[in-house]
């Protein structure tokens, strides 16, 4: 291979001090390895918790929000005193008007994956004298299964049996245990307005949230409407899943403009877990950046040392016609080579760590530690590794470029 003279000088410097070169590169390896590993941990965990969330919640929910009564006499200007005001929740019903049109309009949009209606009913589950209160979701079971992957949480039974058994019900495992109910047993449910129905248990599910397991059930849409003594056009929510859940806030804003009903994205519905997520990201991000900086300092150190030891060489090079730019180029190449070596091994190290941790058994519904190889993280790690080492080399290299050869020669 033909090297240009700057590269040749850089390589010779590195090869005649293999040990220091390796140590500095190893610093980068550890820095990048840990960086990618930590970020993968966070991303893996966030994906896992999002996944768990999406088993119970849609990306977007459209529903009739409670509205307050307006003042009887309209306020004419902002600073005019309102005469009569008696705010009360004023909506007569929480139903959505003409939901078929809303659903049909939504289904026409490109990035929307699933749209399904739902009726939420507050009910009591009864078996003998035991009683639990909870919430039944009246759904179109196939669509709901597409959305929440109910199937994957089933301990017993089959979600499709709801199609053939109109009074079928899928209950959480907590309800089944508390009321001592088995698959195919009957269960009484009573709605908030007193309608009682005898249901047949067609499935028992277990989510990662025990509170949901103790309250939630799925029933057919028609049954839920009967429980509320309403017609088949009665709907309380329209649930929407989109391609990329991260786009939900954008979508909700956009949808909100075209409907009088409340559109809520999952991020807004889960502010607490969103802020936990952000905290995690900031925490792990800053720890791994700090580790990267330490690695960068290692590179800075060795380049600085090389320059201190090579003042005479730099003076000779400058005297024989190498410019300041050439000197910078030489030392940047040195740090680039160390950075590339270090970063490559760092990628391997991260892959090894991820492989190891993903094999750790943690139980629960995920069974193994939620971490995976995320190529964007590896990509960012590689770029960062090279950029940071370049930066670390650049600072002392500028100093080297400014060296005045005469001062060296006079010594």
């Amino acid at each position: 291979m033909k090297l240009n003279v700057n590269s040749e000088i850089a390589l010779t410097h590195l090869l005649t001090r293999k040990r220091q070169t390796m140590i500095a590169a190893m610093g980068v390896t550890v820095g990048i390895g840990i960086f990618i590993f930590m970020i993968s941990l966070v991303v893996g965990f966030n994906n896992y918790s999002d996944e768990a969330l999406f088993k119970a919640e849609p990306h977007l929910r459209i529903y009739q929000d409670d509205t307050l009564s307006r003042p009887l006499i309209k306020q004419i200007k902002p600073d005019y005193t309102t005469v009569i005001i008696n705010p009360k929740i004023a909506n007569l019903s929480n139903t959505l008007v003409n939901p078929e049109k809303i659903i049909a309009d939504l289904k026409k949009q490109d990035d929307i994956v699933t749209v399904t209606p739902q009726v939420s009913v507050n009910i009591f589950y009864n078996n003998g004298i035991s009683q639990i209160n909870g919430e039944a979701s009246g759904v179109n079971i196939l669509e709901a299964n597409d959305m929440f992957n109910i199937e994957s949480t089933m301990l017993a039974g089959d979600v499709r049996n709801l199609l053939s058994t109109s009074n079928g019900i899928l209950i959480g495992v907590g309800i089944a245990e508390k009321l001592n109910i088995q698959l195919h047993d009957n269960i009484n449910i009573t709605s908030s307005i007193g309608v009682v129905k005898m249901m047949k248990v067609e499935g028992i599910f277990k989510t990662s949230n025990s509170n949901i397991d103790l309250t939630k059930s799925y029933i057919n849409l028609a049954i839920s409407q009967q429980l509320m003594k309403k017609s088949s056009s009665y709907l309380t929510d329209i649930l929407v899943n989109i391609e990329d859940p991260n786009d939900a806030p954008k979508f909700s804003k956009q949808l909100q403009n075209s409907t009088i009903y409340k559109v809520e994205d999952w991020q807004a519905a889960n502010e607490q877990s969103m802020s936990n997520k952000k905290t995690r990201q900031v925490m792990f991000g800053s720890i791994s950046l700090a580790i990267l900086l330490v690695a960068a300092f290692g590179i800075y150190n060795i380049i600085n040392m090389t320059i201190k030891e090579k003042l005479n060489d730099i003076a000779i090079l400058k005297a024989t016609g190498f410019s300041g730019k050439d000197v910078i180029n030489i030392f940047l190449k040195e740090s680039l080579i160390m950075g590339i070596i270090g970063t490559s091994f760092g990628l391997l190290m991260a892959a090894g760590l991820i492989k190891f941790v993903s094999g750790i058994y943690i139980g629960g519904d995920r069974e193994y530690f939620p971490i995976g190889y995320e190529s964007p993280i590896f990509f960012i790690g590689a770029i960062l590794g090279v950029l940071i080492t370049l930066g670390a080399g650049y600072i002392p290299a500028i100093g080297a470029a400014k060296i005045d050869p005469i001062e060296i020669f006079r010594k």
Binding site: K2, N4, V5, E8, I9, T12, H13, T16, N312, D313, A315, I316, L317, K318, A319, T320, G321, F322, S323, G324, K325, D326, D404, P405, I406, I408, F409, R410
Partner: protein, 228 residues
């Protein structure tokens, strides 16, 4: 016929401010002609090295003007000066010779690789020629740091020749050499000026060496006191 002026100084003055303000060069004006072999003599501390650094374009902090060929060098940008040094000036320093981690051959080749006028193969061949000229071809593949001071000095002279510079400047090039090697260098310089038309400016303490040159410039206390 009048010879062509290759280097000229006009009223060069140089101050040092540490530890006290001190005028190291004062009103130095002279001309050097093409293919001349000039020696510069003077007591230790008379300003010879200081003047040579200015002539070599490395020192830009002085009064007066410097011309190489027809070109005014004073006031040019550092990167441009580096290119001029690479192409037109070969320099042999007083105590600092070679890059220790490279072979002698590589040391000689580096300024030519930087210039990039010839292919690496051609440059290697030329480097061997220069080493041969100075009688150290057999050391070519040794690491520079493994050579004696005198051998290193000769490699440094070979390096100064590699780009066929118009001017070769040397600060005490024979300071480390025995009489046999001193005469090799002397012969080489004569050959370079006669056969290749190169100009040589050498600082020396050695009176015999100076007498053997075409012309002697003498400095005392930073002033030009005598040119033959």
């Amino acid at each position: 016929m009048e010879k062509k002026v290759i280097l000229q100084t006009k009223k060069i003055g140089k101050y040092f401010y540490q530890p006290v303000k001190f005028k190291a060069l004062d009103d130095v004006s002279f001309k050097v002609f093409e293919s001349e072999f000039i020696t510069m003599v003077g007591k230790s501390g008379s300003g010879k090295s200081t003047l040579l650094y200015i002539l070599s374009t490395m020192d830009t902090d002085y009064e007066g003007e410097l011309f190489i060929g027809d070109e005014k060098i004073t006031g040019q940008k550092p990167n441009y000066l580096a290119a001029i040094r690479n192409k037109n000036i070969g320099f042999v320093f007083q105590f600092h010779y070679l890059l220790p981690e490279f072979t002698c051959l590589k040391n000689v080749m580096i300024p030519a690789l930087k210039l990039g006028k010839f292919s690496p193969q051609e440059i290697e061949e030329q480097a061997y020629q220069k080493l041969d000229l100075l009688g150290i071809k057999n050391q070519a593949l040794k690491q520079a740091s493994k050579l004696s001071g005198g051998q290193q000095q000769r490699v440094a002279i070979a390096r100064a020749l590699i780009n066929h510079p118009k001017i070769i400047m040397c600060d005490e090039p024979t300071g480390n050499l025995d009489s046999k090697n001193t005469s090799i260098v002397l012969e080489t310089f004569h050959q370079l000026s006669k056969e290749f038309g190169q100009t040589i400016i050498a600082v020396t303490h050695d009176n015999d060496f100076a007498k053997a040159s075409n012309r002697i410039i003498e400095l005392a206390d930073g002033k030009l006191i005598h040119t033959t």
